[in-house]
Symmetry: D2
Subunit: 287 residues, 4 copies
């Protein structure tokens, strides 16, 4: 995690068949790769092979700008979907926030101390509230108000800002607006949301109030990729904490904040570190 050595990470999914690992291992060996981590998974019900390999670039004899051309024949032969990324090129994360700042504070602090190996070119909000905090961290803060009437224009403005900033992915840090289908399609598996319940329980609005009304003994939080179906996207991480009859709704909200921070930040770190593969509305997280 705290690797300062330059490395490349390859994420692969392919129909499972014999010889895949050997093909990959031989390809990397040909160019003298020093493999740092390798993890694989077979989903037998879907006949799918998934793999993550990270290797050191020091000593690797294939220049990375020639990687695609060299790897493509193998990928084609095995029907691989693949993506390679370089530790030297930090992904660019945009954060969307409304008024609740706890997830934002948490992400910014983790970023500042090096837990999140990404750049944060901008924060977008539909309110002014978090400006001072964001600017204290030296990050541009943009307010794009959203109403029922101006939704399309607001998203157009958001797209413009995201493109201008070169954002690779977007984190909804308790952003209280629903994104349009068009937005979601532009950033497939690239918008991470935090929902304040243990999905699929209490999807939709006011989950803490409904958890209180139902009398559950644990509350949870869920981070997931955003899809067109609200709260139905592939789950990345979940966590719960115990509550008791002594906790009222306000206590649930307070305890929930700690869950939301942890669950969202794990998802962000795994995304940044290219640990997540998404398929069939599920995720594999290679640890």
């Amino acid at each position: 995690m705290s690797n300062t050595r330059q490395s490349a990470t390859l994420l692969i999914s392919a129909p499972d068949k014999k010889g895949l690992v050997a093909a990959l291992a031989n390809f990397l060996m040909t160019y003298n790769a020093n493999i740092m981590h390798a993890d694989q998974h077979q989903d037998t019900s879907e006949n799918l092979f998934l793999m993550r390999i990270q290797w050191e670039l020091d000593g690797f004899t294939l220049p990375m700008d020639a990687f695609a051309a060299a790897f493509q024949p193998i990928a084609a032969e095995h029907n691989m979907t693949w993506k390679v990324s370089l530790s030297s090129r930090k992904p660019r994360m945009a954060i969307f926030v409304s008024k609740y700042e706890h997830c934002l504070v948490d992400l910014l602090h983790r970023w500042r101390i090096g837990e999140l190996n990404c750049d944060i070119p901008l924060v977008i909000s539909n309110h002014e509230d978090c400006r001072r905090l964001v600017e204290f961290n030296g990050i541009p803060f943009h307010v794009v108000p959203v109403t029922r009437e101006n939704k399309a224009e607001a998203e157009a403005e958001q797209f413009r800002l995201l493109e201008e900033a070169g954002a690779d992915f977007i984190v909804l840090a308790r952003y209280m607006q629903v994104l349009s289908g068009e937005f979601v399609k532009r950033y497939p598996d690239r918008v991470i949301n935090i929902h304040h319940s243990f999905l699929p329980a209490f999807d939709g609005a006011k989950p803490y109030h409904r958890a209180f009304a139902r009398g559950v003994k644990l509350i949870g939080a869920t981070s997931h990729y955003v899809t067109e179906d609200l709260d139905e996207g592939p789950i990345i991480e979940q966590e719960v904490t115990r509550i008791s009859h002594r906790d009222d709704v306000e206590d649930l909200i307070q305890k929930g904040r700690d869950l939301e921070k942890v669950v969202l930040s794990r998802a962000v770190r795994w995304h940044v570190d290219d640990r997540i593969l998404s398929y069939s509305n599920k995720t594999v997280v290679f640890d």
Copy 2:
């Protein structure tokens, strides 16, 4: 918990108003009660006061067969609903089971080593499978087959067996039949079920399969009192455990068994120890 001293336990709920605690404390002091545990809770949204008091009988100057008469005036004045129980009179637990025996094995072992301070006068099943295990533990085992057609007769036979055995409450230890509304009405807050999901997620059938399909990162189990609405009764206890993409449905079922055992046995112990008060489709568990 492992108290061998004889004690009485009083469970109370009443509209919250000033002076309740003083009235109770003074009543008990009058008869020289040595209070071992006292716990109370105010639900401000329902304006409800709930309390559990346990005191030693050694030195208590009011004979317990005169308790009701002596306490009734205070209870009436404060509109209390109350119930007193004696450690010397063990509650009688009936267990219903089908074929999965893990919860049954667990309950019987806890009972054998004294974790559950109750008697088990009988086990009822719709199958023969668990007979040898139950009889090994010296407990009568009754098979009452249940089909779509004979449901009413089967329940009539179950009622007869339960009454004959003097059962106070019933534990559904993975009993795979739905009880009728009439059954539930006979034993209000006296039938404890274990559902193999983190309710309200995945209520109904095949929760592990649906958890797998949804790609959740934690699975759970829920013990609750049975009401007429399936899987909707007051929740007593819940617990979850982590799963990963490496776990298939069979692994979920295996990991879930450990949850089910723990979650059901806690509910049973708390019920036996008179720690649970149920109201508004919720429970307070005094620990």
Copy 3:
């Protein structure tokens, strides 16, 4: 927790004997107290009775400046040690920090959004590093360098600052200096430390490195009151998280930060809310 109603909280410990609860309940009823929360505990091995009562001041007919005089006779009769506090008088918390800022960031944020019902009149550090962050939050920041040679003078300066600021208690938010015995005696049960291990395992220096070397499967954090014996004071809260062979020391440090924040902030909140009673080098935390 988020109570805006004015209230008083009474913490009591006394030799256990019959009539204690009645005496307290009658005293409060005399002055028409509306009890919001009451929790008690008997430690039978120490024959100790411990209680926390919180009541609304609205309608309470005894002026709080006359409370001590009115209550003292009852306290004396029952040999009570007691302390009363008012929600209107926020405790004043001093924070000591060195260079690691994660606990500080966390405490300041919780304070800012109202999770911690206290004032923070100052932060003291032996380094300059956290100045900008502290001052961003509008809190005075004092640097008191500490070396082996100037320890006594440094503490004298710290005492002066603490008294000037009217600090009630001190939180060591990863403060890397050992306090003198004199310091500890000045603030009995009023200095809260976070130790980055699951005490008593790995007390002393470099707990994450030693946890890694020992190959444990969980790491922990412990908040405790500071006593003269390093890492031996009464434990307030502990939490653990799972690690695996994939985690190196850096990963342990990162995962540990999340534990430290949560475990320290819970201790601080409970202390601020007068939920903790300490005796026999243990704590009771009334929830």
Copy 4:
């Protein structure tokens, strides 16, 4: 886990160097292996490469009785330590127990329902207490009394029984005698113990009493391989549970039983499934 397909599992450790994975993958591909699971780990601080590969035997063209000869050249070239096992050959587990039966009950039940893919040729105890339970499960039960004086003779008798039964490994299910150094040397990484604390805290005797005295907020259990240094062997699994001031020593013992069962059974299952590699007094558990 619930695989009914015949498979082979290879565990490897070797000095880390380039080409290891390719060498293994090519070897298996040569014989048309269908890899079901593969997991690897690099310990960079020890420059060690560790791997577990499981493949289907159906279609594998190398007869397993010729495996060693075919694989040895590759193993030698890379200085591998390796072990192959077949799903068709169940490992033989001996259980040692004294009087506490909870871990024994748990293991026997898991074995009966197929969670533990092993045979249990015998149970050895220094007491008669568990005979009825063991024999109910159809397993031979041997009593070998142990005193300070007869320790050597007792172990000689145990060795005889173990050899006669063809035991591969031994589980100490709360067996209250310390094994000699000779015993441990005979079964390196083959004796699994459960210690009723979160090691390294509270090693040695009476951990629950000492946890109570120290006032910890969580108690734990640890399963580990037995080495000559008591409670110092490589840790396989740990788990904790929350306690409070309401729990006395008896409650700790009761809550601890649930931990012990879970933590021991996981270790046993992982050992049986050849998921554990031990080195430098640590374990890697491939999940």
